[in-house]
């Protein structure tokens, strides 16, 4: 760590965020021939340490003799103030070196409300915000992650952007940057070189065209640039390296456990879900390989929990035998198994029962919508009957607390759908009274988010409900949910509104973002940190209307700011899905049914890859 921070540590909350020296942290020497990369997470340590993507990249880069990677997190407000007062720039955890000294500074874009933190971190690091202001010797600032699929609001701040999976392309990037470093190639030429890599997008090489305030498209500045940048995707997860060690934090962080990725991608096809579109196709990891990874990680970290992570873990072909084997292998030493993303079906209850044999805390289900009709619209293929069976099974198996996730403001939603949410909550409570085997009183927790239209989804064209409408819907539900045994919460509408504006934003939003940061906005996803009035001021001063970005329903014919950033899914598939949604016609999962012609397999030369059902099942 940076020695200059030592005297500040007694003055800040959770000083262990800044102290480093964790088990398995890599301290590689800074030699001339090594490419140095800072993995910058735009939130505090406690959040960033949970990110599996950076764990993978950290191990991968540090395994190269000619490269090193270090971690950087946003300091919390108290530490930022002290750093600014004493003129201490943002430094990396491992070496304590200035972030500005790295060859590459890579940010991950996990959600829109982290964007201000990125600019704040660049400010603290003393790196010019805008790519046009950076000089030779400044780091190349890059980004990846899900929001890279519409990186346009951040286009002015990143020298280059990576679309899709990082494991392979990072090697190519390091090779290019290493060669450039050795031959002292100028920045612009290095970027030209990087733009030749598949999946790499250099925003400054493209010029947006507007006509009377409407986005018309992007023009490449050089003839050899692709009009569309296609994401990187691995055919087989088994061939990708996976870390054998994780850095083990001292202070409490979220998801502090062994994580292995059992599958990547999801083809369920929920029409609001961006992850379901951008991570296709489905690729499962071999169970034997997973067990090996778990064994190595448990012994190198000493964690007491193993989490099988994916977008929908119950879909893993051999989930039952894998869970059984892991539980049997680690029961003796107090290590437990968890499945964070279980889809709602009776099989999920069996699995959860297997895992939580002793401690039946709570089960979470996400019906997302209150009526069968609306679930068909969003393609959440769960029936009322499924719901009833699964909830009853859960109460019978001994659970007493059920958590339900819903979205409000979904396309085609009517009052009946809101009533459906309330009715479902009451029904679950009634089933609890009837079927519970636990001595504890049944409880239902209802958590409701507002629909946010996301790029590359069938719902990308649909504007978000107005703030007033969303508030009215919340009020409507509040009255119908107030009941003993039912707890409920809503996401704040201002958060969802800003998320929508930036999710569907174009390059002009860069100015808004800069202004917002100057006005003191940061940590916007932290409940009490969001300064909504300042955000509105920032939009006003930039002469842009957030309502237009968030709430306008777009024409499927018009050019979208993210059309050139391709996850491999064809736009015509999204249009088709959007039309089917309006007729409430579901589309089945291509894993078990016919091909939906989404285009991913054809465009990217990949295919769903499921493991064989094992004999142990």
């Amino acid at each position: 760590m940076d020695k200059r921070l030592v005297p500040l540590l007694p003055l800040v909350t959770k000083p262990a965020r800044y102290t480093n020296s964790e088990v398995n942290a890599q301290h590689k020497e800074w030699t001339e021939d090594r490419v140095t990369m800072a993995l910058a997470f735009p939130d505090i340590y406690d959040v960033g340490m949970a990110h599996l993507g950076f764990k993978i990249l950290y191990a991968l880069i540090n395994s190269r003799p000619d490269a090193l990677a270090e971690r950087v997190y946003a300091p919390w407000v108290d530490m930022q103030q002290l750093m600014i007062e004493r003129g201490i720039p943002l430094t990396a955890l491992e070496s304590g070196r200035d972030v500005a000294d790295f060859d590459l500074v890579g940010f991950t874009l996990q959600h829109e409300l982290s964007y201000t933190n990125i600019l704040k971190m660049l400010d603290l690091a003393g790196i010019p915000r805008r790519t046009q202001d950076r000089r030779e010797g400044d780091p190349l600032v890059l980004a990846g992650g899900p929001c890279a699929f519409n990186v346009e609001p951040l286009a002015d701040f990143f020298d280059f952007v990576v679309l899709g999976e990082g494991e392979e392309v990072i090697q190519e990037i390091l090779d290019v940057v290493k060669a450039a470093k050795q031959s002292r190639t100028p920045r612009q030429e290095t970027l030209r070189e990087l733009a030749r890599l598949k999946g790499v997008y250099v925003p400054s090489f493209y010029r947006p065209v507007y006509d009377s305030g409407r986005f018309q498209g992007l023009e490449p500045l050089y003839p050899d640039l692709p009009a569309r940048i296609e994401k990187r995707v691995a055919r087989d997860l088994g061939s990708l390296p996976f870390p054998e060690e994780f850095v083990v934090p001292y202070t409490e962080v979220i998801h502090d456990r062994v994580m292995v990725e059992i599958l990547r991608g999801c083809t369920r096809g929920c029409r609001f879900c961006q992850a379901g579109m951008i991570y296709r196709p489905v690729r499962e990891r071999d169970p034997e390989q997973l067990k090996e990874q778990v064994a190595k990680l448990v012994s190198s970290t000493g964690y007491d929990e193993i989490s099988l992570s994916s977008l929908s873990s119950g879909d893993y072909t051999q989930i039952r035998s894998l869970v059984k084997d892991l539980i049997a292998a680690y029961r003796g030493c107090g290590v437990t198994v968890s499945l964070p993303s279980l889809r709602l079906d009776s099989f999920a209850v069996e699995l959860a029962d297997e895992i939580q044999k002793a401690r039946k805390t709570g089960l979470t289900f996400a019906p997302e919508a209150g009526t069968q009709r609306l679930r068909d619209v969003i393609n959440k293929n769960v029936t009322d009957q499924d719901l009833k069976e699964v909830v009853q099974a859960a109460f019978q198996a001994g659970w007493h607390r059920i958590k339900l996730y819903f979205m409000i403001g979904l396309p085609t939603e009517t009052e009946a759908d809101l009533d459906g949410i309330a009715e479902l909550a009451h029904k679950v409570l009634a089933w609890g009274r009837e079927f519970r085997t636990s001595r504890k009183r049944p409880e239902v927790t209802v958590s409701m988010a507002s629909f946010v239209p996301k790029p590359h989804t069938p719902f990308q064209w649909r504007g978000q409900d107005s703030l007033e409408t969303l508030r009215a819907k919340q009020e409507y539900l509040r009255e119908r949910l107030r009941h003993p045994g039912i707890q409920f919460s809503f996401h704040e509408v201002e958060h969802s509104f800003l998320e929508a504006a930036f999710a569907r934003g174009d390059r002009r939003l860069g100015a808004v973002l800069e202004r917002a940061v100057d006005l003191g906005c940061q940590f916007d996803s932290w409940g009490d940190e969001l300064r909504f009035d300042r955000w509105l001021q920032a939009f006003r001063e930039a002469g842009l209307d957030p309502v237009d970005y968030a709430q306008r329903s777009l024409d499927p014919e018009e050019a979208l700011p993210w059309d050139h950033l391709s996850p491999g899914v064809d736009k015509k598939f999204l249009v088709r899905e959007w039309e089917l949604a309006q007729q409430a016609i579901p589309t089945p999962d291509c894993r078990w049914d016919r091909c939906t012609l989404c285009g991913v397999c054809f465009n990217l030369q990949v295919a769903n890859r499921l493991t064989e059902v094992g004999s142990g099942d």
């Binding site: 007694p10 020296s21 088990v23 001292y250 000493g302 401690r359």
Partner: protein, 231 residues
């Protein structure tokens, strides 16, 4: 064949900002990495059976922390120390370990005194000595102590047993203090600062001993159980 091993360990510079909870968690993970044959508690979420001496304040270092680990096998203490040290994070080091005879009282019930080493970067030796002389002449030094229940008056003076050393160490002044620790009376480091007139946030504080105080004799919980200090 279960056995209990008591050991003394350090909490060094690298890990001084860990809370007690962080420390216990780091220990549990090191236990698993080292493959120590711990005895686990019964119940829904089995935990290794272990107990520690009184929690150190965040930011304070130690050369004399103690813990008792219950094992399901009878390990040689030297082997235990060697294996565990291979897997402990930097700053945490086992210094001594020994088999604990059945029926030995728990650390928490035995320990009632601590020896603190305080390095004061901005202090004059004479000033500290004068302060200590003044303190010795009084038997009462009452402050308001904030607790979860509210605030109450506490007489700090009887909680400070002695100041066996005040010496110049390079640029700083080094002070050794013997003070009460534990449930029967506890002097916090910031209160030690109030008594001796320093800011505990600016001082470099290390716990260098923990004892069972009987009259004016001090017995460490490990090793040579003979008296190591007398006032």
């Amino acid at each position: 064949m279960t056995s209990t091993i008591r050991f003394q360990f350090t909490k060094g510079q690298e890990v001084r900002f860990l809370s007690h909870l962080d420390l216990v968690r780091a220990m549990e993970r090191a236990i698993r990495r080292a493959g120590l044959p711990m005895a686990y508690s019964e119940g829904f979420s089995p935990r290794p059976i272990m107990s520690y001496s009184f929690a150190l304040p965040v930011g304070v270092m130690s050369e004399a922390e103690y813990a008792d680990f219950r094992l399901v096998e009878d390990w040689d203490p030297a082997y235990f120390m060697e294996q565990f040290n291979k897997h402990l994070p930097p700053g945490l080091r086992v210094l001594h370990a020994e088999r604990l005879p059945e029926g030995t009282p728990a650390l928490m019930s035995e320990i009632n005194a601590a020896l603190w080493r305080i390095r004061l970067p901005q202090a004059e030796q004479v000033a500290v000595e004068k302060r200590w002389q003044e303190l010795q002449a009084v038997d009462s030094f009452v402050v308001e102590r904030q607790t979860k229940q509210g605030s109450r008056s506490v007489n700090l003076r009887p909680l400070l047993f002695g100041v066996p050393r005040i010496a110049r160490e390079g640029e700083a002044v080094e002070v050794h203090c013997l003070a009460a620790v534990g449930n029967q009376g506890n002097l916090r480091v910031e209160e030690l600062g109030l008594l001796l007139g320093f800011d505990s946030a600016q001082a470099l504080i290390t716990r260098i001993g923990q004892f069972k105080k009987v009259g004016s004799a001090y017995y460490p919980p490990l090793g040579n159980r003979g008296c190591t200090w007398t006032e």
